[in-house]
Assembly symmetry: C2
Homo-oligomer: 374 residues x 2
């Protein structure tokens, strides 16, 4: 089955009736809710708190702009973000979610001469987008600590002396693990300019480990480091589609050649202006996420199911038996979990919802155990 | 000056301070409002009525979905649209505005062997997007009636026997003129499959001329005809970013390879579901547009300024003297008009706002006349 059939258009998905097709990507994430109203979504790494009150009000207050092409609000948000990050406005590019930024980069640097070096498993969008472009792809399994295997990725990126793009998702989706920032810094410091570092920091704001920091400091002097962030996670705006890239002006200019015109929508911009940099909101997102993680880990400890140390708003844990069967049984219990992340098919990725939802999940898992299913 | 610097990121625009740079594309459209609060926008072909009441309510009612990736609403909207247009769901693709659909198509069919045949002047996005791809571009001036010159476009598309993409914006932006649908049908009926017709019908719902109809009937049997439409115009949703393409399943599948994941946002989808196919809304948009056009044409007739026969929500009229000077003077009077559409620099494109706004514009134009400026 061609996965690309399933990832883009709801239309196509709808026509095919996802229920009978197992769980190709986005199927459980996007389609089960219609099949099963009231189910709890723990399958898309969304923020269960929803929009902040200020962001909700900002959407309502800006409804009069819904018939106008974006413009003024882009400037307002850009000004705030540039001030917050200490960057110039030509170092920032907005998109319809960070996925648009990833697509821009894949397209902007596509070349038959360029090797794309990716971890396995990692977030799939870069690999999806490159599929129609002439990259030479090298896939490097995560190391035994489920970190990016930087030694092997470096070998791959340097093997032929050709241009390379290295995709680093840190924390990594779907594993939640971090790759030590000091080791990344060492590599970046040594790397030639024809090795491009695509640093996906979608879950940056959740991390509290001192071994982790952003790659942002590199973008001022190095055109070969691009940092990608999103409003989808810590700010709870996944449905509004707002992400961004921060890079050297030379990289931003190239990326913009592949941007969709007017792609940040007015209501997302209004919401973003209302909540960007809101420390209280971020602290609350982290706190609820921590509580949810504690409930989850306590249950997995109790049942003796291994899980990876997570730094995001999700966790990957062992299951017994077939992954699709597990996902379907959880779905039958009103809990949408998972999707497949080959080759880790002995694990399920579980997105943290509210702590009370995790209690419900834990009770269900205990029930599965009593039935001998996990 | 590289125009691409100015079209994508508000960040870049903001940094450069658009005021002093004349009117590169989108500059007046997007940036003047901040420089000049309260100015009336007559420069972006927006619907001055704004979101319908039902669409506004739908946005508010769906705020709880703002933290969730789009999915269920895509299916709901797709179902409605497919039923309305009599198409299968694998013939529809949604995007962040019709401009994302145009970008998908440009990317999906890019080849050093393919000739892109465009009118001049026409809507710029296709030409912008192709800039980084290896198209061989042939530009064909509009004919003396300001229609697409189909004879010459056909010659260009057939000259070498190579694959071609023909972009037909009908009604044409910026001229507002229509190209007779019967002539287009004749060409499409005769054309080989390696000539792709990209039919941009963004203003379709405004047209009341019996010589005009959609190219939709072709998409069932012909993979080489793609129709592009938008919620930005008749539905007043330009700021929400929702457009769509209708085509043969083979074409849709290819386009989806270049789509941004999850790009139709939840609130746009909710608004779209609330207003799609709403006859009363469309009739009202047309009626207000007609009244605005009548005010505009009466003033131009009175002042003896030639204008093109328009079928959209905008009109192109003669000015005297320098276009930038005219646009700046209108801006000083609180009216945002224009932008440059070479080679028609003796004309200004005026988007219709509410009739009372057009009266204000007419008074301003009369004042300009009294000063000898037009």
């Amino acid at each position: 089955m061609d996965r690309r059939l399933f990832v883009r258009s709801g239309a196509t998905l709808g026509a095919l009736g996802m229920g009978g097709l197992g769980f190709p990507r986005f199927a459980s994430a996007n389609w089960s809710p219609r099949l099963q109203a009231g189910a709890i979504r723990m399958n898309s790494n969304e923020n269960p708190l929803g929009l902040s009150a200020a962001a909700r009000q900002a959407v309502i207050d800006n409804l009069d702009l819904a018939n106008r092409y974006p413009g003024d609000l882009i400037g307002q948000l850009s000004d705030r973000m540039c001030s917050y990050y200490g960057i110039d406005s030509d170092q920032l590019v907005l998109g319809a979610g960070s996925t648009e930024i990833l697509q821009m980069i894949v397209q902007a640097y596509a070349s038959p001469l360029r090797k794309l070096v990716l971890a396995e498993p990692t977030f799939e969008d870069v690999n999806d987008y490159r599929d129609t472009y002439p990259y030479d792809v090298a896939t490097v399994p995560l190391n035994s600590r489920y970190e990016h295997d930087l030694n092997r990725m470096r070998e791959e990126s340097e093997r032929d002396g050709r241009p390379a793009m290295v995709y680093i998702c840190n924390p990594n989706n779907p594993t939640g693990t971090i790759t030590p920032s000091a080791e990344l810094d060492n590599w970046i410091a040594d790397a030639p300019e024809h090795v491009l570092f695509l640093m996906d920091e979608a879950y940056y704001e959740y991390v509290e480990d001192p071994a982790y920091w952003s790659a942002l400091k590199w973008v001022h002097d190095r055109p070969n480091v691009i940092v990608v962030r999103t409003f989808s996670k810590i700010y709870g705006m996944a449905g509004l589609r707002l992400g961004f890239g921060i890079a050297h002006p030379l990289a931003v200019r190239r990326m913009q050649d592949f941007a969709i015109h007017s792609s940040a929508n007015q209501l997302a911009l209004a919401a973003g202006i209302a909540c960007f940099g809101d420390d209280e909101l971020m602290a609350k997102s982290r706190e609820v996420n921590r509580e949810a993680r504690e409930v989850t880990e306590a249950c997995l400890d109790e049942l003796g199911l291994e899980y990876l140390p997570t730094h995001g708003n999700f966790l990957m844990h062992r299951i017994s038996g077939d992954l699709d069967t597990y996902i379907n049984r959880m779905s039958d219990a009103g809990l949408l979990v998972g999707r497949r992340f080959p080759p880790m098919l002995g694990y399920n990725r579980l997105s943290f919802s509210l702590p009370e939802h995790m209690e419900q999940w834990a009770d269900t898992l205990r029930d599965f155990r009593s039935k001998g299913w996990v």
